[in-house]
């Protein structure tokens, strides 16, 4: 019998309202494990290249891993994946919270959704039983009402719900999926794919916790891990302030994304800082399943203009910078209100912030005018314009209809040189980090199969000087220099990527795990062994991770992406105009050399295609002629 997982994958066909259960063998689970790699397996298997991401031919996967739901801090994450309507490439996005473990306890390790329901439905999974339920009463409702109604309909107070809001129903290509109002599969428009399938939500409830191979060992690891979280400095900061400390830290370093990725210092940063946050709108800390870090924030404010309700969580760093500094907005309650609206309506706050900053810059240059905005001037720093645009975008009204397409397509529609201010990679808007101050992270933005993404590899800055000791276990000994783009940087990137993609495949939170936070490499391996009973190793886990990366690459290659798509934005090749790293830029030739070297180190050819030998090494022989 399997330990740690169910051994069951649920396949649902919404077109004819049928479902069936697949029971892969242990070797299959050891090969694909979960999360992003398990999802990539099904996308490669069932998706024909070239299909419209919003058609019934797209395939949507909710994937836990073999260890999701184990009672260890950070083992709560799951992946939602499909072909992305934002990029036309692999769509993939992870979230924590309680939904992943609950899905696991309901009897399934993953759910693969195909087809399109003739009318709105939601999926209800309870203790191995599956129902496709009518969602007519939920369609058009925000995520809060949806959650309340599903709790009422099912009579299960502890049901966990992954749902979409009006933005997902309207197929805004950066609509998110969210669970329990404060956890988000934010990126690549997976909410739009749910909307295209008339799938309002998946609700899970279960008491079938998979048996662990060595429960005593897991208890021992849990106690060790939670004790260490209390005294491990990176986790102490997260417990106390969440990710909000990054606003000031990045601003002081000169890499706080400001004014649509042009600048790295924001004059209003103090007003968005962790100090301002915790002195004004902070209500309480929150957490994910079994996690003692408690990095999540909840905010509340009684205010006529910007009321905040703690049920919707609170903005994390990416949102503070996305709806804040990127748009030159220093009004913290307004940024938090914008976050709450995005959560209610189901929009990714990263892409939404980037789209609004793009609109502000287009307006500044006369590319958009009041004629386009129904008389509303879009001015830098105008918090009310930001709040207004969020609603227009979510409901695809007026200028919101164009902006709802994302910056790449919106710029094509607007014309007049708007593409000069449309910052994206592979069609996805950028997370709130500046590659001019950390070029390894910049490589991650360029090489992530999902388009611009900040969780492809650990950020360079942590491994300066003796900080590199945190990567000794994977053979990196030279201190990492954030501003350099050379062979040492590529070597760091290749190994760092494999480490962080372990977390994405096994569904483990970067804020609890290797290489920076409280879990060590040795204890991570011990955890997987104790949960599954497998005789596994760090080598084995890094192969799983690499397999996931290679499968994603093959998926994108067969969709027609090329090395030209592995790039960064124009502004990162221009000198930083101000602040501590004034004058810094990414040299395009050096950067291209680094990308080419990454292909070489990875066993990919010059066209960015994994070689036959690499595919055979990774047990991916079925993909040899795929791309």
């Amino acid at each position: 019998m399997p330990f740690g997982y169910n051994g069951k994958i649920l396949h649902v066909n919404l077109t004819d309202s049928t479902w069936e259960i697949e029971e892969p063998n242990e070797n299959w689970y050891r090969t694909y494990v979960g999360g992003s790699s398990l999802a990539a397996y099904y996308l490669l298997k069932y998706l024909k290249p070239g299909v419209d991401p919003l058609s019934d031919e797209n395939v949507l996967v909710f994937a836990c891993s073999v260890v999701t739901g184990a009672p260890l801090s950070g083992f709560s994450r799951y992946t939602v994946a499909a072909k992305s309507p934002l990029t036309g490439a692999l769509g993939r996005t992870e979230a924590g919270g309680y939904f992943g473990p609950e899905l696991k306890f309901s009897g399934f390790d993953a759910v693969v959704v195909r087809g399109r329901a003739p009318k709105p439905v939601y999926l209800y999974i309870k203790d191995g039983q599956v129902e496709i339920r009518d969602a007519a009463a939920l369609w058009g409702q925000d995520n809060w009402v949806t959650l309340e109604k599903i709790i009422e309909e099912t009579g299960e107070k502890r049901v966990r719900v992954a749902s979409i809001g009006p933005a997902g129903e309207g197929m805004v290509p950066y609509a998110c999926v969210q669970n329990d109002l404060e956890h988000f599969n934010g990126r690549t428009g997976m909410g739009a794919v749910m909307g295209s399938k008339n799938l309002k939500a998946i609700a899970a409830r279960g008491l079938q916790k998979p048996q662990m191979a060595d429960p005593e060992k897991i208890k021992e690891i849990r106690n060790w891990h939670n004790d260490r979280i209390k005294v491990h400095p990176p986790n102490m900061g997260l417990s106390k302030f969440g990710t909000t400390v990054l606003v000031k830290a990045l601003n002081d370093t000169g890499i706080l994304t400001t004014h649509n990725f042009k600048e790295g210092v924001f004059p209003g940063a103090d007003k968005l800082s962790h100090e301002a946050y915790h002195n004004t709108i902070f209500d309480s800390a929150s957490t994910c399943y079994a996690c003692s870090v408690r990095c999540k924030r909840r905010v509340s404010l009684e205010d006529e203009k910007y009321p905040l309700d703690k049920r919707f969580g609170g903005p994390e760093y990416e949102t503070l910078a996305g709806l804040g500094s990127l748009c030159d907005i220093d009004n913290l309650p307004a940024v938090a209100r914008g976050n709450q609206l995005c959560n209610l309506l189901g929009l990714d706050t990263i892409s939404t912030g980037a789209v609004i900053a793009f609109a502000f810059e287009c307006f500044e240059h006369g590319i958009l005018t009041e004629e386009d905005t129904n008389g509303y001037p879009l001015k830098w720093g105008d918090a009310d314009a930001m709040i207004w645009l969020i609603q227009e975008i979510a409901h695809r009204r007026g200028i919101g209809e164009i902006l709802s397409k994302g910056v790449k397509k919106a710029a094509e529609i607007i014309g007049k040189g708007a593409e000069r201010y449309a910052f994206h990679i592979k069609g996805q808007e950028l997370p709130l980090h500046d590659g001019r101050g950390k070029t390894g992270m910049g490589m991650g933005f360029a090489l992530s199969p999902t388009g611009a993404e900040h969780v492809e590899t650990p950020h360079d800055v942590a491994f300066q000087g003796e900080g590199v000791s945190k990567l000794h276990s994977v053979g990196i000994f030279d201190p990492v220099k954030p501003m350099e783009t050379n062979a040492e940087k590529v070597r760091f990137f290749v190994n760092g990527q494999k480490v962080w993609q372990i977390n994405n495949c096994y569904g483990i939170c970067n804020f609890c795990s290797v290489p920076i936070h409280a879990m060590t490499f040795q204890m991570l391996v011990e955890s997987i062994r104790a949960i599954t009973g497998w005789d596994t190793s760090l080598h084995d886990m890094m192969k799983v991770s690499e397999r996931g990366t290679v499968m994603a690459r093959v998926f994108n290659n067969r969709e027609g992406l090329t090395p030209k798509d592995d790039r960064v934005i124009r502004r990162w090749h221009e000198p930083m105009p101000n602040g501590p790293i004034k004058g810094a830029f990414i040299d395009p030739v050096e950067f291209q050399n680094a990308i080419n070297l990454y292909y070489e180190m990875s066993g990919w050819d010059k066209a960015g295609k994994p070689t036959r030998g690499k595919l055979l090494e990774l047990n991916l022989e079925a993909l040899i002629d795929e791309g």
Binding site: V231, H232, P233, P234, M236, G237, K240, F241, T243, V245, L246, K248, A249, L250, D252, T253, I255, H274, E316, Y317, E318, H433, G437, K438, M441, H454, V455, P458, H459, V461, A462, Q464, G465, E466, G467, S469, K470, H472, N510, I516, P580
Partner: protein, 74 residues
């Protein structure tokens, strides 16, 4: 006793660029941070002699303390 302190990025701006520091015997990492006016929110990575360290760790002669601010991902 003398320890070597290595500071990165913005932490160098707090009046001390890094280098050798004289501390009393039995000093902890926390007392060093207090002296340098570095709070928990300023610490992303804390390593002593290329090993993970804690705030209550007692320092000894010739220890090398590396402190890097939290300027990674989130």
């Amino acid at each position: 006793m003398k320890v070597k302190v290595k500071l990165f990025a913005t932490l160098q701006k707090k009046g001390f660029q890094g280098g050798d520091l004289e501390l009393s015997c039995g000093a902890t990492v926390q007392s060093l941070l207090d002296r340098l006016n570095i709070g928990v929110a300023d610490v992303g990575i804390l390593v002593v002699n290329a090993r993970d360290a804690t705030f209550d760790q007692i320092l000894k002669e010739a220890d090398v303390v590396t402190i890097i601010p939290p300027i990674g991902g989130g």
